[in-house]
Point group: C2
Chain length 267, copies 2
């Protein structure tokens, strides 16, 4: 019989943020019980920890400040959101985006040329996914000879205020279908996105556990990179996720605290 | 060599409305030059004509009144939009919909029970495709053991005010993806929808020509029912439609007037 996910060597841990550390909400959300302590215990044991998030409704600075406010020990250098990776890609390929993003996320693109746009970058725009904004993105894509649509993640939904709400992936599908194109994903489950966090930790994927509440993007995505992917029963988790047609989690735990218990008890 | 589409017997004609008879707009839109006369000439030649539309932003009465205002000769009995077919289906299956539709389309569902909804019916809600309304539909679907999503058409975009704008199909794809379900289509290209218009004319599909500006839903859809599907270069037409990967139109004409010229000249 194969060793359980926590019985194999763990030299580093990647954590999803929303639904694992905290549940988001209009008032700043709230920490998931046990998660603040769990992160501290990982650090106390000398394990490197990075936060791999598809959060795109704010800047990295604002996100870290919010999480610190909830009691989490972290710095900006520990957090890997899609926006900085998108900015690198835009500069490299001389792309000027129409930004279909939340206003709070605009400062992420402060030094990006958005004049005369030749691509669309979309994130979780939430209330700003208006028909008007969607049509702006649609018309631009249809006017381009080689349309480029970059989506910061492809999540279906996420947890907010004790309910699941639509994520960027749903709107990405709308534009893909209307324009007959395929989006490029920056963020989980893109391997290059996970690998940036792994490289920063200096740990190879076979020694790393990723903990998340998204069975496809966190669990399946990390497994595709050679990590163990562990699903938590917090955040947007639904019981049917444990019987997903294509992804079998390396482990399923009630919450981050239980995952950390298992990791530290078997060191 | 096979006879051209207009050289074979034509005993009835189905016409799409938006993009063929007129282009829609916030001020009521405008008739496409030659189309009013083209419809009159078909009728003058004794050919039965029916209007097969995926229009879902108004009632049938309001649509017919608008088109009569543009000069078209038609009555409500000539027009086949999705809403009445949806109402029949809802009653038959005891479904109570959450209506993700344009406010102007609500009167279509006046005698439908919408309390304690157990399905979602969506049409072209346009500006009313807000994040809030999309989430209402999403949450309801996710709460149902056997989610039912009925979409009035699956069009990608349509012509309005001299530009193409997103149609219901894009938003249908968003909900299909987020909820891992497949929508039931009522409207073109559903064969039962076309067949209702054919039965009303009393003409078999092999003797009928459908004229539309949507290469997939009008042209491909009618061909799948055994009709000839003719594409017009008006409305949302784009040159790439003539080289569609899966649909080859039976004919391509500049506008409805040319289609009618060809039909009547070869009788």
């Amino acid at each position: 019989m194969m060793a359980a996910w926590y019985e194999q060597t763990v030299d580093g841990v990647l954590l999803d943020i929303t639904g694992v550390l905290y549940n988001s909400g209009h008032d700043g959300g709230h920490a998931i019980p046990g998660s603040v302590d769990a992160v501290n215990r990982l650090r106390g044991a000398g394990l490197p920890v990075r936060f791999c998030t598809n959060e795109t409704t704010s800047t990295k600075a604002a996100l870290v400040k919010k999480l610190q406010g909830h009691g989490f020990t972290m710095t900006e250098t520990d957090v890997f959101p899609p926006a900085p990776a998108v900015c690198s890609l835009l500069k490299q390929r001389h792309l000027r985006p129409y930004l279909l993003v939340h206003p709070n996320a605009r400062p992420n693109f402060a030094d990006i040329d958005t004049s005369n746009p030749n691509c669309v970058v979309m994130g979780d725009a939430a209330d700003h996914f208006t028909y008007e904004n969607m049509n702006k993105a649609f018309k631009l894509l249809m006017s381009l000879e080689e349309p480029v649509l970059i989506s910061m993640g492809r999540g279906k939904y996420y947890r907010e205020e004790d309910e699941n709400v639509l994520d960027v992936g749903a709107y990405m599908k709308a534009l893909e279908y209307a324009c007959d194109i395929e989006a490029e994903i920056v963020g989980k489950p893109s391997p290059s996105f996970f690998n940036a966090a792994l490289e920063d930790m200096g740990v190879t994927s076979d020694k790393v556990v990723m903990v998340g509440d998204d069975v496809v993007n966190d669990v399946g995505g990390s497994q595709a990179c050679g990590m163990r992917g562990v699903l938590v029963r917090t955040g947007k988790y639904r019981p049917s996720d444990e019987h997903h047609p294509t992804v079998t989690p390396s482990g399923v735990v009630d919450n981050l605290a239980e995952a950390v218990d298992l990791i530290l008890n078997h060191r």
